[in-house]
């Protein structure tokens, strides 16, 4: 009898331990996913911050550039650089036939003409001389140099030919290939060529959309929260508003995209693909988040503050505007920042209102067509070229960096400025 009891007890203790273990492993799993995730993104993305350059000797032959004696700045501006650019690439292998010359040309980006031109514009005295110029390597060679490209594939499955690899290896051996920090990733707009594509346009698009979103969502949400928390009578109608807000917070984001498409674009005829429309759509989406946060922080202001103000003869509006609202601001602001961070990461509604258009100029105002960072991730992730994989990861790193900063900022505001009552 006693033994039975002990067995039972042991069994129960074992069950207890097992249950505990399930809990621990669940937490472990969740954190494992997070780690794999971050590791994967960083390990594929970090190389995008480096860019491979080929150092190629260029002879600035005045005749080939169709330049006269003592050319002016404008002449240099308008000169023909294609021939010397082509020639300097072809000179990498003096025995090259025509096909091979073409392959040589494709070892650098199609931007090479402009890079040579900029070199001369910086130093016009180079005419007639030879100088080693840094040219952006094509994205395939860039990937080869970073070790992301399998060299052992059969030639017909590779985008880099054996010949290009041979010349490239010679250049590497001579120290004519260099890897430098990739500034153009931050300053260039999107491009079809992976080696030239940058995030500047989508970054500006994101900034503009978030600003528009902030300018609409913040005032409306704060005013609505003040009304609902401080002035609204308790009746059916305010209950209805409340149910509405809670529901909107859980409506799938793509439905807001349909709203933007069906109302903003189709009825109000606002310009397609612009951060203006994107921002308005996002603001409708963020509105409930901010209202809920603002109401929570208004509720947290103790009633004694209001009573004291009312006792001193302030009207209800004065009590609210002079005392309750300023005291609730830290909570409201941190809620707003978290809502904006959500909006910043949103993709689906922006795709529907056309912010997936290919934009190769940097937008200067919210009325110009633009993409946004998450949409840029989507666009690049859908393209087949190998060079875009690391770009996507790098873009994700930039986006996550922003989101983390915004969330930290929200935390700081909350901890530093929020008054602790009690």
């Amino acid at each position: 009898m006693n033994k039975n009891k002990e067995q039972l007890l042991n069994k129960r203790y074992k069950a207890e331990q097992r249950f505990r273990l399930y809990g621990q492993s669940a937490i472990f799993m969740a954190l494992l996913f997070l780690t794999i995730f971050i590791f994967k993104i960083f390990s594929t993305g970090y190389s995008a911050f480096q860019k491979t350059w080929l150092i190629v000797p260029v002879t600035f032959d005045a005749e080939l550039m169709m330049l006269e004696q003592n050319p002016s700045k404008e002449d240099i501006q308008d000169a023909d650089y294609y021939d010397i650019a082509l020639k300097s690439m072809a000179d990498l292998d003096l025995n090259a036939n025509e096909d091979q010359e073409n392959e040589l040309k494709r070892m650098v980006s199609y931007f090479f003409e402009k890079e040579i031109k900029n070199e001369l514009l910086n130093d016009p005295s180079l005419i007639g001389k030879t100088k080693e110029v840094y040219l952006t390597a094509s994205d395939d060679l860039d990937q080869v140099f970073k070790g992301n490209y399998p060299r052992d594939l059969p030639e017909d499955q590779r985008r880099v030919s054996d010949y290009q690899l041979k010349i490239f290896d010679q250049l590497v051996a001579n120290g004519k290939v260099e890897s430098k920090f990739n500034i153009s990733f931050f300053t260039n707009a999107d491009s079809r060529e992976a080696e030239l594509a940058g995030i500047a346009s989508s970054f500006m698009g994101s900034i503009f959309s978030i600003l528009v979103c902030l300018m609409i969502a913040f005032p409306v949400a704060v005013l609505a929260a003040i009304y609902l928390e401080e002035f609204a009578p308790k009746n059916r109608f305010t209950d209805f508003i409340e149910v509405n807000i809670n529901n909107l917070a859980a409506v799938p984001s793509i439905v807001f995209g349909l709203l933007g498409l069906g109302v903003l674009l189709a009825i109000f005829q606002l310009p397609r693909s612009t951060p203006l429309v994107g921002g308005i759509t996002l603001s409708l989406m963020t509105l409930p988040t901010i209202i809920i946060a603002a109401r929570a922080s208004l509720k947290a202001v103790p009633p004694s503050i209001r009573e004291a103000a009312l006792a001193m003869g302030a009207s209800r509006m004065q009590t609210t505007m002079h005392h309750t609202v300023p005291l609730s601001m830290p909570g409201t602001l941190s809620g707003t920042i978290i809502g904006l961070a959500q909006a910043l990461g949103e993709t689906a509604p922006l795709i529907l209102i056309g912010m997936v258009a290919f934009v190769n100029t940097i937008p200067g105002s919210p009325m110009d067509p633009a993409a946004s960072l998450p949409v840029q991730i989507y666009i690049w992730a859908e393209s087949a070229e190998r060079g875009f994989v690391e770009k996507v990861s790098a873009c994700i790193m930039v986006l996550l960096g922003f989101l983390i900063t915004m969330n930290l900022f929200a935390q700081i505001i909350r901890h530093k400025f929020e008054k602790k009552w009690s």
Partner: protein, 461 residues
């Protein structure tokens, strides 16, 4: 011009605040008692200055184009043009008046362009005059009221109250906007495609219904058997089911562990770390699923002799499950911590172990809240877009094999609407009909979930 007028109104509004306040001080200096604080005199005056002007200004901006268009097109009214042709004429007129017209210029259009320009300039100048006189009239009225020292605080506060109330309507307006934007397209869609075919048809192939020219007569037989949404609904629920298979055990167990077992330190670090998973943009999950998880599963399947599609439902659903873990874990954590301590104490006093207490006492007590959190998770899984667009297939297969590719409501909406859309095309309308069904399904889930959670909260508070 509009911008200048706008800034002018704003500036006048600000300056009138100071005039109002100054007037209050002068009244005060005559030893009269003020009826409100001096700044209310200022607010009063600036509200009267700016608001009527703004109302006229915006009404004008809304109605001017329509009225100008009516006046221009009245010249063509008895010549038997169709509506579309009239619109074209109007567009040509506008383009010509802006100097951007490149086609053949007919004298008719030239005449209307001139008329258009003169109408616009008349409209502009009359707008300025009307707005300015409105400002003068209303400021004069308000100034007179201030001078006679009548009440200013009450009207100002009433106005503010009205502004607050209007802002609180924004949520309702958004909901109305959603329903409004979905319903008309959906109704049009069901005029062409019978509701029965949509709900019970098993073939989804919208690309077949591509209409090149909208003037082409719509042939209903063309669309039969193209818009059967069963595979899409099935795919949506299937992927959501896979996601919940991942999210419920992990999310629930970590919620329980955090609430009941974890020490303060573990809780302090683990909880925010898990919540990071909720803050990662979904497009990032999509990329992760498409680039890492999909190929990994495919390789794993091949090594076991299974045929796995690179865009399998399993990859999309699994990654979606990871995304939903924090929703379930935080909500169930909250729910469990709000179960009163007395229930636990009672159970311990009867000699139950911790896990027995959790399983037999706390879990049943917290069940409604947990169900609510799971329903919210399901609603999120159904509405999730980017993961499925990037990691799951875009062809709608009717299958229950998690290794094959399926498609979902959200993915189809994106596929249909990603390029340029022609409104009035059944394919576009189909996307709105899908959106409508998505909205309705998630709305029901949300309402039920929120109600359950609310009921539960009230029970223990």
């Amino acid at each position: 011009m509009n911008l200048i007028l706008f800034t002018f109104i704003v500036l006048l509004g600000f300056t009138s605040y100071y005039f109002g306040r100054k007037k209050a001080y002068t009244i005060q200096s005559t030893k009269k008692r003020l009826t409100a604080l001096p700044q209310f005199y200022g607010y009063y005056l600036s509200i009267w200055c700016a608001i009527p002007a703004f109302i006229i200004f915006s009404l004008w901006a809304i109605f001017e184009p329509t009225i100008v268009k009516l006046l221009i097109l009245s010249d063509y009214s008895n010549q038997g043009y169709l509506d579309d042709e009239l619109n074209l004429i109007y567009e040509k007129t506008k383009a010509l008046s802006r100097g951007q017209f490149t086609g053949e210029i007919t004298p008719f259009i030239e005449a209307s362009a001139e008329k258009y320009l003169s109408l616009r300039s008349i409209a502009q100048s009359s707008k300025v005059v009307i707005v300015l006189s409105a400002i003068i009239a209303s400021v004069a009225y308000a100034y007179k009221r201030i001078s006679s020292n009548s009440r200013t605080r009450e009207p100002v506060e009433k106005f503010l109250n009205a502004v607050l109330f209007t802002a609180s309507l924004a949520a309702i307006l958004t909901t109305v906007g959603i329903v409004f934007s979905l319903i008309f397209q959906t109704i049009d869609f069901f005029k062409v495609i019978p509701l029965f075919d949509f709900v019970f048809g098993t073939h989804w192939y919208p690309a077949k219904a591509f209409v090149r020219d909208s003037s082409e007569a719509l042939d209903p037989t063309m669309y039969s058997d193209t818009f059967g949404a069963v595979p899409i609904f099935a795919g949506t629920f299937f992927i959501a089911f896979i996601a919940m298979c991942v999210a419920i055990p992990i999310g629930l167990m970590s919620g329980i562990y955090l609430a009941e077992y974890a020490s303060y330190k573990v809780r302090q670090y683990a909880k925010p770390l898990i919540e990071i998973l909720a803050g990662i943009p979904t497009v990032v999950y999509g990329f992760f699923a498409a680039l890492t998880v999909g190929p990994f599963l495919k390789e794993l399947g091949t090594s076991m002799g299974l045929e796995v599609s690179a865009e399998s439902a399993l990859a999309a659903g699994g990654v979606m499950g990871i995304m939903i873990i924090p929703f379930i874990s935080s909500l169930s954590d909250d729910v469990i911590t709000s179960v009163p301590q007395s229930l636990r104490d009672g159970s311990y006093a009867m000699g139950a172990t911790k896990s027995e207490t959790i399983k037999r006492v706390i879990f049943p007590a917290a069940l409604p809240g947990i169900v609510g959190s799971i329903l919210l998770g399901v609603s999120r899984a159904i509405g999730e877009t980017m993961i499925v667009v990037m990691a799951s297939g875009l062809a709608a297969n009717l299958t229950l094999n998690p290794l094959e590719s399926t498609s979902t409501i959200t993915a189809q909406i994106v596929v249909i609407l990603i390029g340029d859309q022609a409104f009035g095309d059944p394919k576009t309308q189909a996307a709105f009909a899908l959106g409508m069904s998505l909205f309705l399904v998630t709305l029901c889930l949300n309402i039920v979930a929120l109600r359950v959670v609310k009921k539960y909260r009230e029970k223990y508070e």
